[in-house]
């Protein structure tokens, strides 16, 4: 046992020794103890490490079943594969380098661990593939699909015959529950998997849209006048009087914001956790009939009657992006969740469906004529399938072809006729291969193999959660609520380093006491290189700054030929590649005389001006000569007691 402890201690000591900045990874690590860990636990299990001394039976017997605690093995002597190398180590404290080294190592280990996690994905994604050359997937009818799949999956194909007008629907975030609202006021919320009805209401007034709030326990309905919030039992909890004549609703789950837009064309963000409107934006583009949210940055997309699409965030009074998408009004919008909101699909009254790249708004990626006439509804599935419900059919397209630049319609994946016009909503069900279409005769859900994400993360959403889990999740979500101010086009700006504040152009850094300047400014003043620079470029910069100073000197005298306009100029120093900082040279402000000469000059050669110019040129040369003499005199002069009153020489 003592031998074991000794071995452990050795390993410990070794570990402690190895805390340093990254060593050369090519040097093989000596393995002197049986307890020395070996990469991941998996590996150790596969090939038991040979004990140091064959004779020590105790060590051999125990070490097979013993591992170094995982927490310790993390701090191993392994060097990261991608070595952290900093330019100019002189300026980087050792402890900081050490920290960077460990961070790099941890990042790599996390990446390795991430690969292992793939094993946990046990669910199989749905698929529909043509087998013969002549077979086409879009020729498969729903009946064909239903006949070729299992009993359980057949339940996804459903027809709900309802007579409340045309229906709009919405799935809860975990895809387990569906809320439907008929035009004439029939509202229901139910668990579609088990068929358990939560509530059914006859509101007897126009209902235009419905959405679940954080989970299925509350939902909001856009009714004739206002927006109402109901609970799971269908009890009216709130009437949101601020929201008038609403046509479309969206709910941003991580910000707890209910977003509404309606016929007045006003976009409102209502914080459902505090019950207050946090932002109101007038779109000034008239009644709005289509809205979508980007699930990855919580930006709201609106489609307007004049064919424009606008992007909104709560903290901007104007649209972040404004885009003329269609020649007619925009009927529907959808944001692709599978590419973190990179693609936007729009459909318009001009009968076109367009797909846009949200990083680059110069023209759409692909556009095609919708099939059939009338309003088209678009929706993306979690795996990036695009469903377009238009005329009397629903058409589904699959990812790579939707976003490849090509003329005409992408190849159809699946199509399904629905005779009950109009089709006013199309929704893919999350975590299921199912698309639900709302139409005049109720709702129909069709099976779209491969549309749903197979693996859900229980910490985010869980279709099978119990009541207690739902409650806990609600509390946790509320604690993690993100402030509406943090909504921006780029959601990753949180936690990044802020841009340095723009410097005041008019503040002269020379008049700021040196200890108040930031470090790089001090170094610059002392002629020392920026720590981020390589030594070569630093030398160049030094040279350049010296040159710049000389140039300044030269420009003090008036040069008649110089008529360049700029006050400041940015001088790119050419030193044969590499990242170099541009040197900003400052020029003297133009004198009144200079201005006069310029004004008087033009193309005419005026003898007076020529005389003045010649005079100035001479004067300039004189000043220069005098300065050179002065400098030479400074070097050779005997020191005198009066030197202390002299101004320091200009160099």
């Amino acid at each position: 046992m003592d031998a074991l402890i000794e071995a452990g201690n050795k390993a410990d000591r070794k570990r402690r020794r190895s805390y340093g900045p990254p060593k050369d990874s090519s040097v093989p690590q000596s393995r002197d103890s049986p307890l020395d860990y070996k990469g991941k636990g998996k590996e150790t299990a596969k090939q038991p490490v040979k004990p140091a001394e064959e004779t020590d039976a105790v060590v051999a017997s125990i070490s097979r079943n013993t591992t170094v605690p995982r927490t310790l093995s993390k701090l191993g002597s392994k060097t990261p594969k991608t070595e952290v190398k900093l330019e100019n180590n002189k300026f980087t404290p050792w402890a900081f380098q050490h920290k960077l080294h460990h961070q790099a190592r941890w990042r790599e280990e996390a990446q390795e661990a991430l690969e292992d996690v793939e094993i946990l994905k046990t669910e199989e994604r749905g698929v529909m593939a043509a087998e013969g050359l002549m077979e086409r997937t879009f020729k498969m009818t729903q009946d064909d699909i239903v006949n070729s799949i299992g009993e359980e999956q057949r339940r996804y194909r459903k027809e709900w015959k309802l007579d409340g007008g045309a229906y709009r629907s919405r799935y809860s975030k975990n895809g387990r529950h569906i809320a439907i609202a008929g035009k004439r006021g029939h509202v229901a919320s139910f668990d579609w998997l088990t068929g358990k009805m939560h509530c059914e209401l006859e509101l007897r007034e126009t209902c235009r849209d419905i959405t679940y709030l954080n989970d299925h326990s509350h939902f909001a309905v856009a009714q004739k006048q206002h927006v109402y919030i109901y609970d799971q039992q269908g009890i009216e909890l709130h009437r949101l009087r601020e929201h008038i004549d609403i046509t479309r609703l969206e709910y941003l789950p991580y910000h707890w914001l209910l977003v509404s837009v309606g016929n007045p064309g006003v976009l409102r963000y209502h914080d459902t956790s505090i019950g207050r409107v946090v932002a109101t934006h007038k779109t000034k583009l008239g009644a709005c009939q289509s809205m979508a949210q980007n699930p990855h940055n919580a930006v709201i997309y609106l489609g307007h009657q004049n064919g424009t699409v606008t992007l909104w965030t709560p903290n901007l009074d104007e649209p972040a992006v404004k885009l003329l998408a269609h020649l007619g009004g925009v009927t529907s919008l959808g944001v692709d969740p599978s590419t973190s909101g990179r693609y936007l699909a729009t459909s318009g009254m001009d009968g076109k469906v367009k797909v846009w790249d949200c990083r680059n708004w110069k023209g759409c990626v692909r556009e095609w004529e919708q099939r059939g006439t009338g309003h088209a509804e678009v929706d993306w599935s979690q795996k990036g399938f695009l469903g377009v419900a238009s005329g009397g059919t629903v058409n589904v397209y699959t990812p790579p072809s939707i976003i490849t630049e090509h003329r005409g319609s992408p190849p159809l994946y699946l199509t399904h006729p629905i005779p009950h016009r109009p089709l006013i909503s199309a929704r893919f069900c999350p975590y299921t291969d199912m698309l639900t279409i709302g139409h005049a005769n109720g709702l129909s859900s069709i099976i779209v193999p491969g549309a749903g994400e197979p693996t859900f993360d229980s910490s985010e959403v869980d279709p099978f959660e119990s009541k207690k889990m739902r409650r806990e999740r609600e509390v946790h979500n509320l604690l993690d609520k993100i402030q509406p101010d943090l909504i921006a086009l780029d959601p990753d700006f949180v936690g990044t380093v802020a841009e340095p504040e723009a410097q005041d152009e008019f503040a002269d850094p020379l008049h700021v006491a040196s200890h108040r300047l930031p470090r790089w400014e001090k170094l610059k003043r002392a002629g020392m290189p920026d720590p981020g620079m390589t030594s070569a470029s630093a030398n160049e910069a030094k040279k350049a700054s010296r040159q710049g100073r000389e140039d300044d000197d030269m420009e003090i005298g008036y040069s008649a030929s110089d008529t360049s306009e700029s006050e400041y100029e940015v001088d790119e120093v050419d030193n044969g590649g590499g990242g170099e900082a541009p040197v900003v040279r400052r020029k003297k402000k133009k004198s009144a005389l200079k201005a006069y000469l310029k004004k008087a000059g033009g193309n005419v050669v005026d003898p007076t001006v020529a005389r003045i110019k010649a005079k100035m040129e001479m004067r300039r040369k004189e000043i220069q000569l005098a300065r050179i003499k002065e400098r030479q005199a400074m070097v050779h002069r005997e020191p005198s007691a009066l030197d202390r009153f002299r101004r320091p020489p200009r160099l």
């Binding site: 991430l114 749905g126 593939a129 969740p337 749903g452 869980d462």
Partner: protein
């Protein structure tokens, strides 16, 4: 070929009631939108919770009539602390029960200026009455059970008394030998069995009065002292002479050796700052700790050697991390007066302060730590919150909440004034230098601390 995704309920629901629900994981970032923003929200909440639960004051130990000027903790034991007061009384306290185990009401005439435990549990005290006394500080009569007879506690006589010629300011016992050192105007080394000092240590040109004195913990013959003539001296008692002396710009009131890093020493200076030195290179401090707005009167390292506490004339207790320029936390109390002595408990969870008002106060080292037994999940949650706070400390809001402390108005104003003064001085120096009136290299503040290093 057609297959359709299907989540079978049997795989996702507990098989029997009472079983945990199976969980599934998908680490794809797409299924975790706003991960960073949500983590920031959690970090912000963690910072707020931490400040909400920050109740550092645990309790106070009373019993002294005058201010408490010395504290001693017993090595190897968590619950005992001895305190010496201005009226000459010494009390040995039991920390968990906050009771007085032993009481020596008139141990000295005048202030008990130094107090320390020996390895075998006896107590050594020195006072301005020019006496050093050795006490039997056994709190149990026969190894178990407290001494319950009030008289037997009170009527204890010192085991030995040593008399010197001048008032003593500090005392420290050798780690292993039966030797101790006292500081008056010189340093005396005493043998416990002899009535007069066995050697006297002094630097040739020195006229100092010793303010603090400590043996090194690992090189037990090395002795460090600070003096009223702004010096810090290192002695070796084997050679009986001073090894090295530093003349600083201000005098130091207290010193403390780092318990885990034997070459590191902490000095509490009269110029409101604390300094750590590496004794291998004494030309300048390894770090300066600025924050107190009056002289620092006492300091003590945490037993972990990563942190230390300091108490000052400004009535605040500050806790510092090593090599960090600003204090981690500031404690103050309405009724707490100037702190003359500070001690970390041996488990590094509590800090004790002795102040002018005659109380020994117990503070938590981590202000928001929860005392008592806590559930494993609670511990995990707290660790997670602490990590979050640390990771997001550079976020503007999180950092602001982490750093904000409410201070007594006087301390706050003094700090503002001090900042203004320092800035004005630096401005002036900068201007002088730029105009050419001041020559020479720019000297950093930290290298101005040591004026001279003498061998």
């Amino acid at each position: 070929r057609i297959s359709v995704l299907h989540h079978s309920p049997s795989a996702h629901l507990p098989s029997r009631s009472g079983d945990p629900t199976p969980i599934s994981r998908n680490l794809d970032p797409l299924s975790h939108p706003f991960a960073k923003a949500r983590e920031r929200a959690r970090a912000l909440n963690a910072a707020k919770l931490d400040r909400m639960f920050a109740k550092p004051f645990v309790g106070s130990l009373d019993g002294h009539i005058d201010g408490v000027y010395s504290l001693a903790k017993k090595p190897g034991i968590l619950n005992l602390i001895a305190s010496g007061a201005g009226d000459g009384g010494i009390i040995v306290h039991d920390l968990p029960t906050r009771t007085k185990l032993l009481r020596f009401p008139a141990a000295h005439k005048g202030v008990v200026s130094g107090l320390c435990f020996t390895e075998d549990g006896r107590l050594l005290s020195c006072g301005v009455d020019r006496l050093v006394k050795l006490w039997d500080a056994k709190t149990t009569s026969d190894g178990d059970g407290l001494l319950d007879d009030e008289d037997s506690r009170a009527s204890r006589e010192p085991l030995a008394t040593f008399s010197g010629s001048t008032a003593f300011n500090a005392v420290d016992h050798h780690r292993s030998d039966q030797l101790f050192a006292t500081g008056s105007n010189v340093v005396h080394i005493w043998d416990e069995n002899k009535s007069s000092p066995i050697s006297t240590l002094s630097f040739p040109t020195s006229t100092e009065g010793i303010t603090a004195l400590k043996f090194n913990w690992s090189e037990s013959s090395v002795l460090a002292t600070t003096g009223t003539d702004r010096t810090f001296t290192l002695y070796d008692i084997r050679t009986a002479k001073a090894e090295r002396r530093l003349v600083l710009n201000f005098r130091c009131n207290a010193l403390s050796w780092n318990p885990t890093f034997p070459t590191r020493i902490l000095l509490a200076s009269e110029d409101h700052n604390l300094y750590t030195f590496d004794i291998r290179n004494l030309s300048k401090p390894t770090a300066a700790y600025r924050g107190h707005v009056a002289a620092v009167m006492s300091c003590d390292w945490s037993p972990t050697g990563n942190e230390f506490a300091s108490g000052g004339w400004d009535r605040t207790l500050r806790i510092w991390r090593e090599q960090e320029r600003t204090s981690r936390d500031i404690y103050h109390g309405k009724r707490m007066q100037r702190i003359f002595t500070t001690a970390y408990t041996n488990d590094s969870r509590f800090i004790l302060t002795g102040s002018d008002d005659g109380n020994v106060r117990i503070w938590k080292a981590q202000a928001s730590e929860r005392l008592g037994v806590s559930h494993g999940r609670d511990v995990a949650a707290r660790q997670y919150r602490n990590k979050l706070r640390e990771q997001w400390k550079n976020d503007v809001e999180v950092g602001r909440i982490n750093r904000r402390r409410y201070l007594p108005k006087s301390v706050y104003r003094a700090a503002q004034t001090k900042i203004e003064m320092v800035r004005a001085r630096q401005d002036r120096e900068g201007r002088l230098r730029e105009s050419g009136a001041k020559e020479g290299d720019v000297k950093t503040e930290i290298s101005k601390v040591v004026i001279q290093e003498q061998d």
